[in-house]
Amino acid sequence: MADQVTLLDFWPSMFGMRCRVALAEKGVEYEYKDEDLWNKSELLLRMNPVHKKIPILVHNGKPVCESLVIVEYIDETWSHKAPLLPSDPYGRARARFWADFIDKKFYNLGQKVAMTKGEEQEAAKKEFIQSLKLLESELGDEPFFGGKKFGFLDISFIGFYCRFYTYEMCGNFSIEAVCPKLVAWGKRCMEKESVSKSLPDPQKLYGFVLEVKKAMGIE
């Protein structure tokens, strides 16, 4: 019986990107549905009644929500190829810990860097850079967060790498200047087809954010 896999997503979402990359890594064929978040579909609301958010993976009619939960589900369901989490429990715990750190810090700080001005923006930039440096130290001298191989933690952060251009333009700073290893990591990830085919162009993303700011009356 053929698997039916659908991803309800929104092209600029860094959380949606995680799922796209994970599915691509596993070579899973799926239907991609781009949602209008200002006019949510009946399908979205039915598949995620608790949060009413994307991404949602629908596998043979059953929904899985929350991007990191989806990535682990993908890893466990299509386990024959490209393992995303390491096999040892300690390695898995480290990956989950840092993925949780990414979720706790980068979305909100990134929003503030992109959407605010003045003192609020400066404070957010400072903490954003501190958090980036902490994450960069976890990378060490390895090519990927997973070590020699691309994996769960790389997937968890790659969507934010796609936003670096937006953060730099809005915040008027250079991420490469403060975290060169992290930027090199991002470029390395982009060389993988599973990543480059799943992520939007960073400039297009920046354009989108500018439109949102304009619509919200933010300069």
């Binding site: 608790v50 949060h51 596998h59 059953k62 899985v64 929500c65 929350e66 939960v69 989806i70 682990e72 589900y73 466990e76 369901t77 429990p89 300690y90 898995r92 715990a93 480290r94 989950r96 810990f97 949780d100 750190f101 902490l134």
Partner: protein
């Protein structure tokens, strides 16, 4: 084999307790270290959790693991008896989803509903009722979130299972009540009466003391900010 297992925790903290009960349910022996998180964080805590400087931290053969849900998964993967998470990938995804929902939504709202006052508290109370209603919906027909036995979500939701009842008595709150949430209250009672869990739950006065210390710390924090 010489395994070294140490838990850095705080008696009265529900996050800390999650890890303890998981180890106890699996029959795993460990050394417990009570940490001072309110006044003077110890060198061990700062060394083993430099990122967040919080408990609980599990140190296994010198390697630290932090964040209670991450620790629970580590425990489940390392000691395979009496599994906490289901085997089936879809069921595991559901368990992780609800555990996340609980920590990201329920915990903070429930605290606010007990800690704050005035309109902020009223708003938190309303939100808490909505969230508890959603949580209760997930339980219908099952004895525990994990099915017939206590599982990942039950352990994570222990704050509602035991802590909320005690704290709301202490502050004169009534967010978790039998009339509004009969199914959830029944679950809480079953949870508290489980063997091993029953003997291990912290007593009422310890929880109240912890809660008061948390509240003082938060009040002082906001005072210093103003």
């Amino acid at each position: 084999m010489g395994e070294e297992l140490k838990l850095l925790g705080v008696w009265g903290s529900s996050f800390s307790w999650r890890v303890e009960i998981a180890l106890k349910l699996k029959g795993v022996e460990y050394e417990y270290s009570e940490e001072d998180i309110f006044h003077n964080k110890g060198a061990s805590l700062l060394k083993y959790n430099p990122v967040h400087k919080k408990v609980p931290v599990l140190v296994h053969n010198g390697k630290p693991i932090a964040e209670s849900q991450v620790i629970l998964e580590y425990i489940d993967e390392t000691w395979k008896d009496n599994p906490i998470l289901p085997r089936d990938p879809y069921e595991r995804a559901m368990a992780r989803f609800w555990a996340k929902f609980f920590d990201e939504k329920c915990m903070s709202t429930l605290w606010k509903s007990c800690m704050r006052s005035g309109p902020e508290r009223e708003k938190a109370y309303e939100e808490a009722c909505d969230l508890l209603s959603t949580l209760e919906g997930e339980l219908k027909g099952k004895k525990f979130f994990g099915g017939d036995t206590v599982g990942f979500v039950d352990i994570v939701a222990s704050f509602v299972g035991h802590w909320v009842g005690t704290i709301q008595e202490a502050v004169g709150d009534n967010v978790l009540n039998k009339d509004k949430f009969p199914v959830l209250c029944k679950w809480a009672e079953e949870f508290r009466n489980c063997p091993i869990i029953k003997e291990s739950l912290p007593p009422r006065d310890m929880i109240v003391a912890f809660f008061k210390a948390q509240r003082e710390m938060i009040t002082a924090f906001y005072k210093n900010k103003a």
